[in-house]
């Protein structure tokens, strides 16, 4: 017989899976074509961008922080990569610069939060505005197109790898690496320690500031990766790309059962959470639900998840 504490942790673990299963079942009953192979691959591709950002957000939230600037970092990195490519720079170099820029913007967040002692919400609210503004300045408010012909770059957003969309492959590979980092490395354990009890972590010799800077840099890097994939998918960089993506990413993390107070949670849940959001987006479209209603449904599902989460941790 399980104790009530064990029950709760079991529920926290399998809750997201049950939620995803229920939603998939309901949508499949209403529209059987939802579960066709081509649509499942379609959903995986659609989910990949949000999932990549949400993976980074999981690390940030595990340390007890939050990052509102991810959508703006996505747009800025995409714009940098696209501008370089449009200017004839080698696509691989352009992408590397884009990823580096994302990591640097993330590191700036980390520095402001750890060294500047600014609350993550406020710090990233400010940098979100700054990064978005810089994107608009950089692109003059216009989409960057004319990226030239690069098969490699096109593959990133639009290609297939053994029949599986490349963005989905990238997402799953990233997931695997990040899962191992979080589960098997000292760094992963320290992330949990900092979020669980920062003072205790510092007393036991963990450099909490450094962990935070790494975590925000990682999130910036993943946002940039998402931005480059999006740029490839759209064959252009949009200065307004990624607006409000921070909210979808946070929602994915929360739906996955990671606690917003830090220290508790897992990245598998985030993947499931991102899938729940993607399945809702796609399923509601397939059912012909108006977009206004879709927002009501999505918001309700997130609220439901948080209520259930409070119930099991209460």
């Amino acid at each position: 017989m399980l104790s009530s504490k064990q029950m709760k942790s079991l529920l926290a673990t399998i809750g997201p899976f049950i939620g995803l299963f229920l939603i998939v079942t309901v949508i499949t009953i209403l529209n059987p074509s939802f579960l066709s192979l081509s649509n499942v691959l379609n959903v995986l591709r659609q989910v990949s961008i949000n999932a990549l950002i949400a993976f980074g957000m999981t690390f940030v939230i595990l340390t007890g922080g939050i990052d509102l600037s991810v959508g703006a970092i996505l747009a800025f990195s995409g714009a940098v990569t696209a501008t370089l490519m449009a200017a004839g720079v080698d696509p691989i170099l352009a992408m590397m610069v884009g990823l580096l820029v994302g990591a640097i913007l993330g590191a700036i967040n980390g520095l402001i939060i750890s060294k500047g002692k600014v609350a993550p919400f406020i710090a990233t609210l400010a940098t979100m505005t700054i990064y978005r503004g810089l994107t608009l300045v950089f692109t003059d408010g216009r989409p960057v197109s004319g990226l030239g012909e690069s098969t490699l770059f096109e593959m990133l957003g639009r290609g297939y790898f053994f029949g599986i969309p490349v963005p989905a492959v990238t997402m799953l590979m990233s997931f695997l690496v990040l899962y191992l980092i979080l589960k098997k490395t000292t760094f992963g354990r320290r992330v949990y320690a900092v979020g669980g009890n920062e003072e205790a972590a510092i007393l036991s010799g963990i450099k909490a500031d450094r962990i935070k800077i790494y975590v925000y840099s990682l999130t910036g890097f993943l946002s940039a990766l998402a931005g480059i994939i999006l740029t490839s998918r759209l064959n252009s960089a949009q200065p307004t790309a990624g607006t409000m993506y921070e909210l979808d990413a946070i929602a994915a993390v929360v739906l996955g059962g990671t606690s917003l107070t830090g220290g508790r949670g897992w990245i598998v849940g985030t993947l499931i959470g991102a899938l729940i959001i993607g399945v809702l987006n796609n399923g509601l479209n397939l059912l012909g639900v108006s977009s206004f209603f879709q927002q009501v449904v999505k918001g309700s599902v997130i609220l439901l998840a948080v209520l259930l989460d409070r119930k099991k941790t209460a």
């Binding site: 209403l30 081509s38 379609n42 197109s145 998918r233 479209n285 397939l286 059912l287 209520l307």
Partner: protein
Amino acid sequence: MKKVLVWVMFAVVGMFLLACSTEAPGSGGNANEDTDNTSNNAAGNDSGDADYTVGFSISTLNNPFFVTLQEGAEAKAEELGIEIIMVDAQDDDAKQVNDVEDLIQQGVDVILINPTDSSSVVTAVSSANDAGIPVITVDRGADGGDVVSHIASDNVAGGEMAGDLLVELLGEGAEVAEIEGIPGSSAARERGEGFNNIATDALSVVSSQTANFNRAEGLNVMENILQSNPDIVGVFAHNDEMALGALEAAEASGMDELVIVGFDATDDAVAAVEAGRLAGTVAQQPTLIGEQALETALAFLQDEDVEDFIPVELELVRE
């Protein structure tokens, strides 16, 4: 208490999902059909009312213009007996690409796209092309991919209407200024082209400057124009925002009799026309654009020839 709340939430979400199913008649049925077999032209089952399904990806429904366009399309679809599936990209380029992919999954017969952006929509158009589903663009075009037809307001004709109005009100050879929209945008290019078709011969355009479709910039630009060309008697602005900015500048400098013509027929501009402050504004007809889109889709599905570009007429709003 919490338990009750959770169950209420469940019930609410459940109800929404059930309500949805009634809104999508037949979506379960035709979605299973072979997507690659949508080469409608081969569908020679001559019956005029073959049940066609049209997918319509619209850029945003948070803007009255596009809501009116949608209503025009939906009314026409009902009249023609075509099923229409609307998806709203909410001005998000990435969402639009996803939306179009979802429409492809449903195996619609033709996809109408009102792009959020001409360049980012290309991926969506190519996906539809790959699936063998014909694409028609509405209001904004696509920079690439295979598009059967493009339906949009005839901005060139609109620019000509504005030019004609200035000639009518001011007489041949009058000194006028042109306030241009965002350089390179199709609206600015075409409206300018139409206006200059008339103005080159019939008017004397002493100044052409851009104010980026923006009201505040329209005000600044007009102030500058009035400084350097105090004798002008008329102005054509590529949109109403700039026209209203120009109007502020003119009235502030006591030039109340300046004849200003705008474009778009926004509520503010129409009110200004009614008050006799603006001479006129050229109105797009979103309902007509929506209707035309559906008619073109049906014509194409029934194997009739359709033009690459179908201009939709504009309407002049004046006192």
